[in-house]
């Protein structure tokens, strides 16, 4: 059930069998939710963190007029709100964008295993640092990249992140997001996203068909996006 979570951790460091057992012992309440289910509401008091086991979910903030900015996408194996362990409420909402499978970890249990396993504590600290690094990269995209480069960059990032948890097939992966979802990640509109996707497709870089992303020129796509995976910290080393 937490295989993808373990794959994500083990891409960056070793996880001992004892640590694996400690994690397995606290993940509970497996639940399937439909697309567009709000999983966490900003401001509510939280006593557990939610882990995404399957599907795509997001963190977002919105304005009074309903305009929404997705601030990070989450893939299988990610904690959606490990930061709520210390924050106890969120300044953003969390939404399932596709059908998702989730589970929860009680903050009391997190306190116990972080007391007992200092290395696991550091691994989870790494996890929240990684989220912050992804946020910084998205800030660069939103503030400075062109529309086409923003899309290209997001598709590169997802290819790497999904690959780490075994959800790519060659240069393809299932995304299952709408153009509106993508627009809300990229600070664009669905019409604009569609127009730029056509440009990327005609440039022979990447195509999205029926929710499947097919990268036709990985080198070219990275170049178009100015993508390097440095900010995803893919080195496997002691943390």
């Amino acid at each position: 059930m937490i295989e993808r979570h373990l794959m994500k951790l083990r891409a960056r460091d070793e996880v001992t069998p004892e640590e694996e057992q400690a994690i397995r012992s606290i993940v509970r309440e497996l639940r399937h939710v439909r697309a567009d289910t709000r999983l966490i509401r900003a401001g509510e008091v939280l006593s557990e963190s939610t882990m995404l086991l399957d599907g795509i979910a997001c963190r977002y903030k919105d304005l009074r007029n309903g305009e929404r900015q997705i601030t990070e996408l989450h893939v299988a194996g990610d904690f959606l709100d490990l930061h709520s362990f210390t924050l106890k409420r969120l300044d953003h909402d969390v939404l399932a964008l596709t059908r998702c499978t989730i589970a929860v970890v009680a903050h009391d249990d997190l306190r116990r295993i972080t007391d007992d396993h200092p290395h696991l504590t550091r691994l989870y600290w790494f996890g929240t640092n990684l989220d912050a690094a992804i946020h910084r990269e998205w800030e660069l995209s939103l503030g400075r990249r062109t529309a086409a480069a923003r899309i290209a960059h997001l598709l590169c990032e997802l290819y790497v992140r999904l690959g780490l948890v075994g959800l790519t097939d060659g240069f393809s992966y299932r995304l299952g997001l709408t153009q509106t979802d993508l627009a809300e990640c990229l600070g664009l509109t669905s019409v604009h996203v569609n127009r730029m996707l056509k440009e990327l497709r005609e440039g022979g870089l990447v195509a999205i068909r029926d929710g499947m992303v097919d990268i036709e020129d990985w080198e070219g796509l990275q170049k178009r996006a100015e993508f390097t995976p440095d900010y995803l910290y893919l080195e496997r080393r002691p943390r």
């Binding site: 062109t146 529309a147 709408t178 153009q179 509106t180 664009l188 509109t189 669905s190 019409v191 604009h192 569609n194 127009r195 056509k198 440009e199």
Partner: protein, 92 residues
């Protein structure tokens, strides 16, 4: 909710919207189209070249044309002498 498709025609050709969006009514579809035009034009403005000759066609799932939004109708363009009353094209 009804499903609307937003096809773009401009100097780069025809961009077909295969996915479309569910929206409450035609007014919401019009607003979506105008927002889309403005988003594309803002990028063109940053690149230094604005082409207002394109249009968005809003169609229903059967392909019937419901609305056409010319790019030029999505923005108000002010040209002519400077708004501050000084004469154009003369360096101080």
């Amino acid at each position: 909710m009804p499903h609307y498709f937003f096809h773009v025609r401009n100097r780069f050709g025809y961009v077909e919207d295969e996915e479309g969006s569910e929206l409450p009514d035609l007014e919401a579809a019009r607003a979506r189209a105008i927002d889309g035009v403005r988003s594309m034009l803002s990028e063109e403005a940053r690149a230094g070249e604005i082409d207002l000759r394109g249009r968005i066609e809003v169609r229903d799932p059967a392909g019937a044309l419901l609305l056409t939004i010319p790019f030029a109708e999505a923005v108000t363009v002010h040209t002519g002498p400077p708004a501050d009353g000084s004469k154009p094209g003369i360096a101080a």
